[in-house]
Point group: D2
Chain length 359, copies 4
Amino acid sequence: MIIMKSEATKEEIANVVKEIKKLGLKADVSQGEFRTVIGLVGDERKVDFSHFATLPGVKEAIPVESPYKLISREYGRRFNEEMGRRQIRAGNVSIGGDELVIIAGPCTIESKSQLFRIAEEVKKAGAHILRGGIFKPRSSVHSFQGLGANGREEAEQALRWLYEAGQRFEMPVVTEVRAEAQIDLVASYADIMQIGARNMYNQDLLASVARTGKPVLFKRHFGAGVDEFLSFAEYMAAEGNKDIILCERGILPVGKGKNYTRYTFDLSAIPAIQKETYLPVIADPSHATGRQDLIFNMSCAAVAAGACGLMIETHYDPSEALVDGMQMITPEELKEVITACRKIHELVAYKHKVKVISG
Amino acid sequence: MIIMKSEATKEEIANVVKEIKKLGLKADVSQGEFRTVIGLVGDERKVDFSHFATLPGVKEAIPVESPYKLISREYGRRFNEEMGRRQIRAGNVSIGGDELVIIAGPCTIESKSQLFRIAEEVKKAGAHILRGGIFKPRSSVHSFQGLGANGREEAEQALRWLYEAGQRFEMPVVTEVRAEAQIDLVASYADIMQIGARNMYNQDLLASVARTGKPVLFKRHFGAGVDEFLSFAEYMAAEGNKDIILCERGILPVGKGKNYTRYTFDLSAIPAIQKETYLPVIADPSHATGRQDLIFNMSCAAVAAGACGLMIETHYDPSEALVDGMQMITPEELKEVITACRKIHELVAYKHKVKVISG
Amino acid sequence: MIIMKSEATKEEIANVVKEIKKLGLKADVSQGEFRTVIGLVGDERKVDFSHFATLPGVKEAIPVESPYKLISREYGRRFNEEMGRRQIRAGNVSIGGDELVIIAGPCTIESKSQLFRIAEEVKKAGAHILRGGIFKPRSSVHSFQGLGANGREEAEQALRWLYEAGQRFEMPVVTEVRAEAQIDLVASYADIMQIGARNMYNQDLLASVARTGKPVLFKRHFGAGVDEFLSFAEYMAAEGNKDIILCERGILPVGKGKNYTRYTFDLSAIPAIQKETYLPVIADPSHATGRQDLIFNMSCAAVAAGACGLMIETHYDPSEALVDGMQMITPEELKEVITACRKIHELVAYKHKVKVISG
Amino acid sequence: MIIMKSEATKEEIANVVKEIKKLGLKADVSQGEFRTVIGLVGDERKVDFSHFATLPGVKEAIPVESPYKLISREYGRRFNEEMGRRQIRAGNVSIGGDELVIIAGPCTIESKSQLFRIAEEVKKAGAHILRGGIFKPRSSVHSFQGLGANGREEAEQALRWLYEAGQRFEMPVVTEVRAEAQIDLVASYADIMQIGARNMYNQDLLASVARTGKPVLFKRHFGAGVDEFLSFAEYMAAEGNKDIILCERGILPVGKGKNYTRYTFDLSAIPAIQKETYLPVIADPSHATGRQDLIFNMSCAAVAAGACGLMIETHYDPSEALVDGMQMITPEELKEVITACRKIHELVAYKHKVKVISG
């Protein structure tokens, strides 16, 4: 949609039309009382709207289509693709189906015994998937960066522990991959590859991870709007991998004074995203709030908002954890969360009942 | 807490101590390896920390206490006041007690028949309190500003309709008061006085409304952090009126690209606020999301997060409404929302069971 | 601009057209390959776009015109009004003309001697207008609220001091009016009425202050976008008062971690605003940064960005000030700021040379 | 700084002290009237404050030291390192020294002739360093991603053009490296390696680029606070490379309504950063504003704020550019910008005169 200035000349309008045609699109000129508006007819996703905004006589150039296509509901509808919510399989678990999926485990793997004890306890509490960080993204180079920072050997050892814990307690496993050089290693042991919030904009990593063909747990950057989040998910879909689990984990807090939470948990984004795409959406209350005393409420709220899964950091003794203890709950607390969330899921699931697509 | 620069001199430290004593407080000097930190002993709420930050040798001056006192849980605990959540009565309804409270009605009162029809239908759907706007705050002077803009007589007539609808359908009524000159009029007809988000920072209006002694429904500004919100509630408590119902209604969206909701519904703020104050917290999904298709999910989510009430804009035909039709639901949809929310409220209420204070 | 869903039916399109015609506007239907777009022909400022967004088949409803009219450059151009930048007179000073205007003085008036000493010194340093706070907006009810908080008599005394200092040192004076009840009093003594950032959204106060006919110094709210800021200036223009001096004073900081300034000084807004409206724009580096050590640089930057004036808090001894000492500079520092800013103003002024409108 | 709850027990305080000692630090307990505060004595940068916040009885755990060390002024001062601003050499140009440095060139290299024509013209206009994008980070996978997207051969050809243009017109050259796999290639041809805003959080890329030993032009992420930005610069310094040129390029806009600029150009960050670190800071008005009509003013403003260099996108015909035409200026306009900025630089440079460190 090209909006002309009120004083735009006929020549300027003709020029815009010419530029549109150059791109293989058609122009639809609409003459108003005050100004002329020119629509683009065709696939406008390839159009650089900032180019049109520089043409003489143009006031604004606004995209009408959303910037993603392959993962959008509208695209599906238009080209007669399958509808509903995509069901993504990882081992014996299905994300995006009828059952609420719980991903739990420590923020960071510290030792084999720590991991196995937590794995056993979260399984008993009702978790379906085991998580554990090996390559940790950290704000400060002086902080503990996970066992992955101690060289390939230790990284592989930690990955093997994760794999073995998954085998022992019958849970598929997920861990973050932070750089391209780690992809092969992580893909050998993990059932689901996690891309962290800080790497959401890393298009090269996204494409490479997608090409492994493994399901990807993809976290929203704390500075990304919903359409930007989906645009980057599209980078993976463009590689042919649509097994993408979207994860809301909090956005930048805004407001004068303090907000008492680490990020703003953007729960409205969950149903808003689900109306745009068929990819399943889960939520991470641990990182979003950064407060163990809010996990119960905010897990329930995320499920009520429509999340089809939760990722919750768990530790038998949060005050012993090397990283992020403040946001971890115990397996007992996890059980209480799961019990309440399952009931809420049953209450609200009928509202977003959709035809589920087999993975 | 005054943090000195690493190169601060003894004289500079002594000077800070002197300034603290001037205010009738004691100074607690703590000499570290790299720097000196000076604690303030006494009530630091009267201290202007930016003053201390200007003193020579000072690196930072950080308040440790929260900026509100009368409404804080800690204050209550310290001075042996009552604990728990304050229960506020308006007519036959109690906000902050065991039952989830639903406030519903049109965004804007347009006519007597419109109001009465909606009042009847929301009552049937299960609402407890009737809302309806008369003095509307609007971004543009060229938009419809509510019947209150047509002079005192029409304003009073609309208020009378609201009062009568409340009487007829046995619901206390709430409406926004936007300016000091409207207080007397509104207070003659409304059971609860609403202060809108845009007026949260209007300390003179807050004090004057508080002095009416009526319960106040107080909305968070979209640019206010939680502690700023509570600081301004304190302006009303300082006038002796603690019948304040806090309302989360969305904060400024942030993020590159579009978010697909009008504001960011800051649901984590609900339990976070409830841990700071004994005042009850409700939520307004209509303004927060601006989208009728998200009201069901986000109402459920707000209750799951711990809200003890909801304010939902309702209209029998949203596409006929003069203002904000996009965010209104029908009475039938309201009923569905209430049914689900009540069940969720029962599921989670035990987690924030508190001793309720009689109003 | 009404953008229809790709699956919208002919009936839905016809219905939107009908609704547009109801408002006395014309509809311009543009049929694309993928979707239909309907333009509104006529003055769309009265249109509630959220109403159209609720109609069946509508995907989005986007305003094309800016929400302000009376103060916009485009409006001027269209209806053959005067162009350029409006020059606003206050006493012997002209804001918006060729000369850079400096407003200086204490944050808060504390005593007659404090005010007179500062007035004398800022005049010598080159200031044109004297400022001094009497009714102070504060985040905490427990902080010092200015002499205006001690009753009408003390408020009037402080206003009289301000008036007398202005007379003695030949400077027009400006002070903030925070509530409608203070307008008459302030208007009796001040040459320019200031509306603070926290009151930007207070449409009733704006209209009442505008009706005094005095020039208004109007500060942008820290949570307001530029078009919202201008929309509220329009409330005053709609009362017939276009003597509005716009003031950028910092917006909410955003970003993970700390920013080291109180607000984000949005300097790009200065030329952006000046391209939208003929009203003059000034800047307040004191509140924007909250740091005395940044005032020199950020004053220079504001002038380079195109500000036609600066408001700078000044005190002979910032560490003695009761409020906001951290952001005040001394008269000697002010002189240095003025000297550098005048030279920069001369360097850049030719770029925004405009026909000046006589007040 | 560990702030205890007012009701914390002696045992809880003793436990915190024990935990501090475990880390090899000393605890400095300060008993106040209302609460106890415990200072950490030693290097707190390795401390995970969220761990302390989980301990019983703790209200808050606040870091006092900034999270970066190697690049901080304070660190330099404490350990008798060199002070002032670091001067970084690239070819015949010195960034951070007395002269204002101008980096100019096209957003994206499209062809050899386009690049050479622009290079010649920006050199004549007064530019010192040539820029040109080959690996372009884009929001949409459907947009043009630069010649680097067409395989290694075309990428290398474009890099060779850039190198040759630099040789011919005697300018060192800078281009963005977006992924680890591109580092070797880019390092063979570029004098300065650029890390874009979207990759600011990519710690693995940062470390690898730093290890090339080449100067790095490091852009602030649009969602990063100043201390987070510096924390990630520290990742490169930790690899032994302190030749880091920091670049402010705009942060996320915030505010109700529209802001009329692409990002918020955070100019106060420039002097604020320069007070924290000795690394030189430059500014990018092209990306920050996204508007060619604001480049003159905002370039002047950035220099007035204290930037020691500017990066400006330039094209002989912006309406022909494939990417970001809206923000590019012509070489003639560039010359005007440079002329004004040099004069402003001379006016303000004395204020931040520092001992320059040889690279």
